[in-house]
């Protein structure tokens, strides 16, 4: 007999149930905003602390609706975007050369992993302004082609490039990596 896995994705209402915040579909008739009912909110020790007590000690700045003493929490109208995307093919690419107004890349097929590597040239114009700062040799990006269908049913062909983002190399992160490397070196040296 199988049980529901703790790491399954769950919908908003059940998510909030699990967080011990039973958020009913109540709105403030004055402002139309969502209002928390006077029930226990999340926390590992929630059995010993009422919602009001927890709310008082909370550091979050809440907007109080007139006539209500509870914080306002507004859920997004829909949990996910409405536009539909049909991807025909997707690649993970590595920049191999940057030219004057274009760049070359090596492509690994994500849709059909068994396909051989390919080479392609892309124009700078195909890269968003935010991502152009990331464009350099050995930078990784994802390229996909397909169709999008808008809410109104309009179909458009797409070719999208999105660069991979990695955390900045902070001193703390580098120190952590150095320390870990040293530990592994010691471990492997000791085994030989």
């Amino acid at each position: 007999m199988t049980t529901i896995s703790a790491t399954e994705a769950i919908e908003d209402v059940r998510f909030l149930d699990d967080a011990e915040a039973v958020l009913e579909n109540k709105t403030n008739p004055l402002t139309g905003d969502w209002v928390l009912p006077p029930k226990r909110f999340s926390g590992s020790d929630s059995t010993s602390e009422s919602f009001d007590e927890k709310n008082k000690r909370s550091d979050s700045k809440s907007v109080m609706a007139e006539g209500y003493s509870k914080p306002l929490i507004k859920l997004p109208p829909g949990t996910l975007p409405r536009e539909r995307v049909k991807v025909l093919q997707q690649w993970e690419c590595v920049v191999t050369q940057v030219c004057e107004d274009s760049f070359l890349a090596e492509l690994a097929d994500l849709t059909e992993p068994g396909n051989p590597l390919e080479l392609a040239e892309f124009s700078f114009e195909e890269v968003s302004l935010d991502d152009r700062k990331l464009l350099e040799v050995e930078a990784v990006f994802y390229w996909c082609i397909g169709y999008t269908t808008s809410k109104s049913g309009q179909v458009q062909r797409i070719s999208e490039i999105r660069f991979k983002r990695s955390p900045k190399w902070t001193r703390a992160l580098l120190n952590s990596i150095d320390k870990r490397s040293a530990e592994m070196y010691e471990q492997f040296s000791g085994d030989s």
Binding site: A9, A19, S58, P76, T149, K168
Partner: protein
């Protein structure tokens, strides 16, 4: 032969169980750490960010976190790999976050060409001969099969099949959850968050490919042409 056409609706998510600080998951934090683009930070929709719970809708992702659960999901297949990159980047920075378990999820929906095809598929998954004597008009509501994936370090993978909740009639949805318990994977003093990141990086694309293959094999066994 019956036909099942893949719908545009597909969702993937990564869920972590452990000890988290929801207040940190502000769009500005992600942007300052080069994990999202500045434009994505500006357009992020914050439902709530607090010490107990955070819900933030980015252009491509939906992030939800409480003190003991973190999840991030996307229904845009173009963003499935960036989704993994975002989680990897986040917990590389937050390397001391205690992660007790994590799971990878994939959800796909298919529309059958007729009611009879759809019904027959359900009957194939759950034959009614065990139920006909005790129930009138028995029908499969939800079926979960658990097993393990070859070459995976996960403790289990569950595949759930049920009539689609969102699509029109004659549709089914497949939900796959691959679950990892960190206690059974930790062999040294590596922070659990870094171990989580390491496994996620190695397994994510394989899990997504496996999801497609597993569903295809189920349809093939049920003699349904998957399109």
């Amino acid at each position: 032969m019956a036909t099942a056409t893949k719908s545009d609706r597909q969702l993937s998510s990564i869920v972590g169980i452990g000890s988290f600080n929801p207040a940190i998951f502000h769009p500005i934090w992600f942007e300052k750490n080069n994990l999202i683009a500045p434009s994505e930070c500006e357009t992020a929709d914050i439902s709530i960010i607090s010490n107990e719970v955070s819900v933030v809708k980015f252009e491509s992702f939906l992030l939800k976190s409480t003190t003991d659960r973190f999840s991030i999901e996307s229904d845009d297949i173009r963003r499935f790999q960036p989704l993994c990159d975002l989680v990897v980047g986040t917990f590389t920075i937050l390397e001391h976050t205690p992660v007790v378990a994590f799971g990878m999820n994939n959800h796909q929906e298919f529309v059958f060409d007729s009611f009879d095809s759809w019904n027959n598929f359900g009957h194939n998954c759950a034959p009614k001969n065990l139920w006909n004597l005790s129930l009138l008009e028995p029908g499969m509501r939800k079926l979960t099969i658990e097993g393990r994936r070859e070459n995976s370090k996960s403790q289990r993978i569950q595949v759930t099949v049920e009539p689609s909740k969102k699509l029109e009639d004659n549709a089914v949805q497949f939900s796959l959850n691959e679950h990892y318990e960190m206690a059974q994977l930790q062999a040294d003093e590596t922070p659990t968050a870094l171990k989580f990141v390491e496994i996620l990086q190695d397994s994510w694309q394989g899990f997504l490919n496996y999801s497609d293959e597993a569903i295809s094999s189920v349809f093939k066994a049920a003699e349904v042409d998957k399109q």
